[in-house]
């Protein structure tokens, strides 16, 4: 498969978002000794080996012990440290969920929780290593911001913004290189505000994280091959959700597709649906994500393709809704 080949010559390929996370954290740590990275034998996959070499006193290793990772991070944050707790998203948001709920969110200890290799990044390693539940479980917890940046720009901005906030934040990153999605002069990143990465007014695709790119590909192909104009929004901020943009979409009444690397239950799509339809929206609406079944095995992109979270799959769904 060549699904990850950049077809569009006008897109610049970037790094993996979690690489950008690590480099941004390094830059922040160089200027601020209160930045602390807490890891659970996860510095390698978190691309934090250079961080540990440059700032050994700003890294706390707890070993493979995610509950302790989050508890210790809560203590550090309570003591005034700008604390980033980094672990694979699958373990961080399941094994340590009670610590996230109580020690971080309920206790209002402003830990930045960083889920690495999120979604199905670990592909063929299987369900144990997939995080298709993290949006759902964290959406049901008060006092935590949930961010899923799409590209390197959003990643850097999310990390810098999170470091400056005195609030709990969860961010998830993948390990595949991502192109910069900035053709529309959209260099603005705010928590609670979606970022339009492709303009159009026939319908809208709201995507998040690493599915924004295939949504963008689908929109580009629909424009070039079918003369259909599809807006693509990177809903990097899942909580708080961008309700202003949803209000606008409700007013326009055009079809909406949501796309996410998450189970369809309880994710970004259901968050949008919940807001829209309680407001009386009449838009045709479809949630694309991983269905509620034993997840197929394969690489991340094979899994995306299998469930239609690819350029082709999203195009097909969009065409069916545009008829």
């Amino acid at each position: 498969m060549e699904l990850d080949k950049i077809e569009e010559k006008d897109l610049q390929m970037g790094l993996a978002n979690q690489q950008v996370f690590a480099e941004t954290l390094e830059a922040l740590a160089a200027e601020d000794s209160s930045i602390i990275a807490v890891t659970s034998d996860s510095r390698g996959s978190g691309k934090l080996v250079p961080f540990g070499q440059k700032f050994p006193s700003q890294m706390v290793e707890v070993g493979i012990a995610e509950q302790n990772l989050v508890g210790v991070a809560a203590g550090l944050a309570s003591a005034g440290k700008k604390t980033f707790a980094i672990s694979p998203a699958c373990f961080l948001t399941a094994r340590a969920l009670e610590q996230i709920k109580n020690d971080v969110a309920y206790s209002d200890n402003p830990v930045k929780l960083v889920g690495i290799s999120a979604g199905v990044s670990y592909g063929a390693l299987g369900t144990t290593h997939h995080s298709l539940h993290d949006f759902a479980v964290l959406r049901a917890i008060n006092n935590i911001i949930i961010l899923a940046p799409a590209d390197n720009y959003e990643t850097e901005m999310a990390v810098r913004l999170a470091a400056s906030l005195d609030q709990p934040v969860y961010m998830r990153f993948g390990k595949k290189n991502m192109p910069f999605l900035q053709e529309e002069n959209n260099q603005n990143f705010e928590i609670g505000k979606g970022r339009t990465v492709h303009q159009g007014d026939d319908m809208t695709i709201i995507a998040t994280g690493e599915t924004v790119y295939p949504a963008w590909q689908a929109a580009r192909a629909l424009r070039e091959d079918h003369d259909r104009q599809v807006k693509v929004i990177s809903m990097h901020s899942i909580k708080p959700l961008d309700t202003r943009i949803l209000d606008e979409l409700a007013l326009a009444g055009k079809p909406i597709i949501t796309v996410e690397e998450h189970m369809v239950n309880g994710g970004m799509g259901e968050a949008c649906a919940s807001y829209l339809f309680q407001k009386g929206a009449k838009n045709p609406f479809c949630i694309m994500g991983i269905p509620d079944e034993y997840t197929i095995t394969g690489s991340q992109l094979e899994i995306f393709a299998h469930y239609g979270l690819s350029k082709e799959g999203i195009m097909a769904k969009a065409k069916s809704m545009l008829k």
């Binding site: 302790n68 508890g71 550090l76 309570s78 003591a79 610590q99 020690d103 206790s107 209002d108």
Partner: protein, 274 residues
């Protein structure tokens, strides 16, 4: 405060926590009576804290991992001047901050606890932060014997020894009972001293109702430089009220008016003998 006054304080705190449990018709009576002497010593002899400056970054920290015994904590904090004791008339009432577990909405409470096995990992983080900042304050956490099987405790035991946190004190309220019955029947934690020494902690055992022993153990640390401190406080569930002592039904039993009066009269009789 003299030693005699400190002993009288323990009786007063017992009376107070029973009063508010009786009024609220809710509370963890047996465990609060078990740990209240530890709290008395901590707040009146050990912790460097100021109720008027309760967020001072150099203060000692106390995190109550066995959050359900909040009544002992609340009456101690009130007595120490963190809030008016009369506030406790709202214990467990609609919209009161004085709920059945510690919450930071109450002045003097360091962390929101209640789910078991959470206090120590947070304490490890606080203790690491103090070491990083080269501060001299200490971090104390009170762990119930019933919560010792929580795996997160053992993750934190490893980390505390790994980071040589001799500024960290874990106090085990070892009353040997939990809600279902005796520890050794529910989940055996025997040889806890050996276990903790094997985990790299410095361990001392005290009578958890002898204030002088508690003070000696908590105020003369670290027990061994470079090792976290584990204080096994041998206690009695329901301590101070004869019909509650060692009787598991008082884990969260609430006394009737007759039982409440009997408890107060027993405590008053003990008070006279101090």
């Amino acid at each position: 405060m003299t030693d005699k006054e400190l002993k009288l304080k323990s009786v007063l705190l017992r009376k107070n926590l029973l009063k508010y449990i009786y009024q609220a018709k809710a509370g963890h009576t047996g465990g609060s009576l078990s740990c209240v002497d530890i709290l008395n010593v901590l707040y009146n002899r050990v912790l460097h804290i100021d109720p008027k400056d309760s967020k001072n970054p150099d203060r000692d920290r106390y995190i109550q991992s066995k959050g359900h015994c909040v009544e002992a904590l609340f009456v101690t904090l009130a007595d120490r001047g963190f809030f008016p004791e009369t506030d406790l008339a709202t214990l467990c009432q609609y919209q009161s901050h004085y709920i059945g577990h510690p919450t930071k909405k109450v002045n003097g409470v360091e962390q929101n606890t209640g789910a078991l096995g959470h206090g120590l990992p947070i304490g490890v983080g606080e203790a690491i932060a103090a070491k990083l900042d080269q501060k001299n304050h200490r971090v104390f956490t009170l762990i119930g014997d019933g919560e010792l099987p929580e795996g997160s405790n053992w993750e934190a035991f490893l980390a505390a020894a790994h980071y040589k946190l001799d500024n960290l004190y874990a106090i085990l309220d070892y009353n040997k009972q939990q809600i279902t019955g005796d520890n050794h029947e529910v989940m055996n934690i025997d040889s806890v001293r050996v276990k903790m020494e094997a985990f790299g902690w410095a361990v001392v055992e005290v009578d958890g109702h002898k204030l002088s022993e508690l003070e000696q153990a908590l105020n003369n640390g670290p027990l061994e430089p470079g090792k976290p401190n584990f204080i096994i406080a041998h206690t009695t569930k329901g301590k101070g009220v004869s019909y509650m002592e060692g009787n598991i039904k008082w884990h969260h039993g609430v006394p009737s008016s007759e039982q409440y009066e009997l408890a107060l009269s027993e405590l008053s009789a003990a008070e006279v003998l101090i």
